[in-house]
Amino acid sequence: MRCMDVVAVTHRGRERGHNEDTVSVAGFQSGVVEGQPVRFTVDSVRPVTCLVADGLGGHAEGGRASRVAAATIGDAAPLFHDSAAVVKAVRAANDAVYEEMAHHRAWTGMGSAIVVLVVAGDRMICVNVGDSRCFLLRDGHLVQLSTDDSPAPEAGQATIATVVTQTLGGRSDRGEVEPHVHESEVRPGDRFLLCSDGLTDELAPEHIEELAREADPVAAVEGLLRATLDAGAHDNVSIVLATVGVEDR
């Protein structure tokens, strides 16, 4: 039996009073302020969907937007056999956030970045909107698969104050989104890292790569979270580390 080993955590960080991030692994959706790493073993006979949704920082209802987006995509997850289905679900999540917004004036403008990873058989699909990221760790190298919707920082500048050019929701008038899609094959032992910008804004890519290489996935996620908290954790931080079928069980 082929299995995926997924370790997920979401934490409000050191400065924010709320956690506006939402993590979802194989239909299990987070709802904690300060989480501890949770480990899942998922049978990968059917497509396995993991996602990180990062509610728009500073907006009061960012958490609502990220939960609505995560739930909408989670509902459609059994149909994720090709990238078109995932893109359709991400667009539906965008519509759902705008529909939720219409319920209350104060919710206007809430939004969420999202990155979705689907592993279906020996193929993987990565779809993202905004600046939440998906990396592939293969042969010890960390490669970003998602495409940021943010202007490239100037040389030598850190992207602490992130400007996002596209999110699910996030505007007062209903708009369309153009999700970024990456498809490739999956090899046993591949390790995928999904994260909100709370991780990538605090840690340098080399540092993330070094911590994510840790053999024990729980220790790897703990190391990443610990390093982020030690670096200040100015934003909510969410980490999903999915390792593909290393051993048969």
Partner: protein
């Protein structure tokens, strides 16, 4: 002296200045002072005269506390502080008797809602109107109504005619044999 901090998850002491528990990743909360806080669902009889787990204002010390430092009755989901459980029930030998805030309970052999339970053969030395129990919604007081054989809290006789506050786990005795324990249960 700086406030001693602890992890709300594993309860380990956290040195001052450390921002999070290194094993649970939780934000430290102030350590409860002298006695260890007991779980709210304690069996009352096991802990006579214990300090109730009453969390005072801003007990958790978290500036971002979603409950303004006052955990709800069910306890705080975020910091793990137990809620302030209302202790407005008297557990008699035959079962619990809740005391609502608007209806004081008269304990006695006559004119009392529990008169039928107070068998004259067994509890003959309980007066007809022995004592009155009042509730303010969270705590109880007992007032002895000039009874012949006295009312006792944890085996100490209380003065007649004066309201004596009761705490969770206190044993209230009416005359020699009739005894009740103060609990937070509602049923």
């Amino acid at each position: 002296m700086a406030q001693q901090m602890m992890c709300p998850g594993c309860k380990a002491d956290i040195p001052a200045g450390v921002q999070y528990c290194s094993s649970c990743f939780l934000t430290p909360v102030p350590k409860p002072a002298p006695e260890p806080v007991e779980p709210p669902a304690e069996v009352p009889a096991a802990a006579p005269a214990s300090i109730p787990p009453a969390a005072g204002p801003s007990a958790c010390g978290d500036p971002d506390c979603v409950h303004d430092g006052r955990p709800p009755a069910a306890g705080c989901r975020h910091c793990g502080l137990p809620g302030r459980t209302a202790a407005t029930t008297l557990r008699f030998e035959w079962g619990p008797v809740p005391v609502p805030p608007d209806r004081p309970l008269i304990v006695g052999r006559e004119q009392s809602p529990i008169a039928g339970r107070i068998d004259a053969g067994q509890y003959g030395n309980v007066s007809r109107r022995h004592a009155e129990i009042r509730s303010d919604g969270t705590t109880l007081t007992v007032t002895d109504l000039d009874s012949m054989n006295g009312t006792f809290v944890n085996d100490e006789r209380v003065p007649a005619g004066r309201a004596t506050p009761l705490r969770t786990g206190d044993r209230v005795r009416f005359a020699a044999r009739l005894e009740a324990t103060v609990t937070g249960e509602s049923a």
